[in-house]
């Protein structure tokens, strides 16, 4: 049985679900960012798989995946800088303890 587009779509859906579970249930801010990276990887797998199986003439899927990798790097950098700034001021990185603005 040859590997078709459905195999890759199944893997990316499972990876997306795992990343979503990480975002919803983790307390540490950096762990939430790790879940976001997993979700972005899942979308990259989808794009490249569609490029190979549905539209192999052009390279739009590869280009889009490269742009997503670049933007994921930017977002990780800024997000982690924010986590460092929060840690320096509030001494904690657990998102359920960062509630100083609540009344």
């Amino acid at each position: 049985m040859t590997v078709g587009v459905n195999h890759y779509l199944a893997v990316s859906a499972l990876l997306f679900g795992l990343g979503l579970y990480g975002i919803l249930t983790r307390r540490n801010a950096v762990a939430i960012l790790m879940g976001i990276e997993l979700m972005l990887n899942a979308t990259n797998i989808n794009l490249v798989a569609f490029n190979r199986y549905v539209a192999p003439g052009a390279l739009a899927g590869h280009v889009f995946a490269l742009v997503i990798i670049t933007l994921a790097a930017c977002e990780a950098a800024v997000g982690l800088a924010l986590v460092m700034a929060v840690y320096r001021n509030l001494e904690t990185v657990h998102v359920d303890e960062i509630n100083v603005l609540k009344w």
Binding site: Y8, P56, C74, A77, Y87
Partner: protein, 163 residues
């Protein structure tokens, strides 16, 4: 047959460490498990004949983003000990929601009849991606370079110690 075997191995290398990333109580081990997951995704890219994207995936994701995450974990004392509770109160609800979304995605993606086209990708992957970036997708290229500059300066300013 060989391709199916390679696909199964790579899918396991991607998904099992990803499960460790989202459930491990030791944060450094969770960040360490990100690396084989990213390498598995790079292997899947190679299987999809996207070598340039695979190389960039290893270089940027496993070589830079994982290092950045490890640095911040070690600098914010997030990895000290496993006594700290890592999962918040909505574990059950979150798990159900993630499982429901995954089931919906799987049903949607696997039941659609995608219009498969026969054909093969260009052999000279890098040259084709380069020319695509500079002709058809030049706007995305320029905007992502501006975003890179903005995030570079922004991250530096935010993380700098107050003088």
């Amino acid at each position: 047959m060989g391709e199916l075997g390679a696909f199964i191995i790579l899918a396991l290398v991607t998904l099992l460490p990803a499960a460790a990333v989202v459930t491990s109580r030791n944060l450094v081990r969770a960040a360490m498990s990100l690396v084989p997951s990213f390498l598995g995704v790079a292997g899947l890219f190679v299987l999809l004949q996207a070598e340039f994207v695979a190389g960039i995936q290893i270089l940027i994701y496993a070589g830079a983003i994982a290092v950045l995450i490890l640095f911040v974990i070690m600098l914010t004392a997030g990895g000290t000990g496993t006594a700290v509770r890592q999962a918040n109160e909505q574990r059950v609800v979150g798990g159900l929601a993630a499982a429901a979304l995954t089931a919906a995605l799987l049903a949607l993606l696997l039941r659609t009849a995608w219009p498969l086209a026969a054909g093969s990708l260009p052999r000279a992957n890098v040259a084709a991606v380069g020319s695509a970036f500079l002709t058809t997708f030049v706007l995305a290229f320029e905007i992502s370079s501006v975003v890179l500059l903005v995030s570079l300066v922004g991250a530096l300013v935010i993380a700098r110690r107050e003088r």
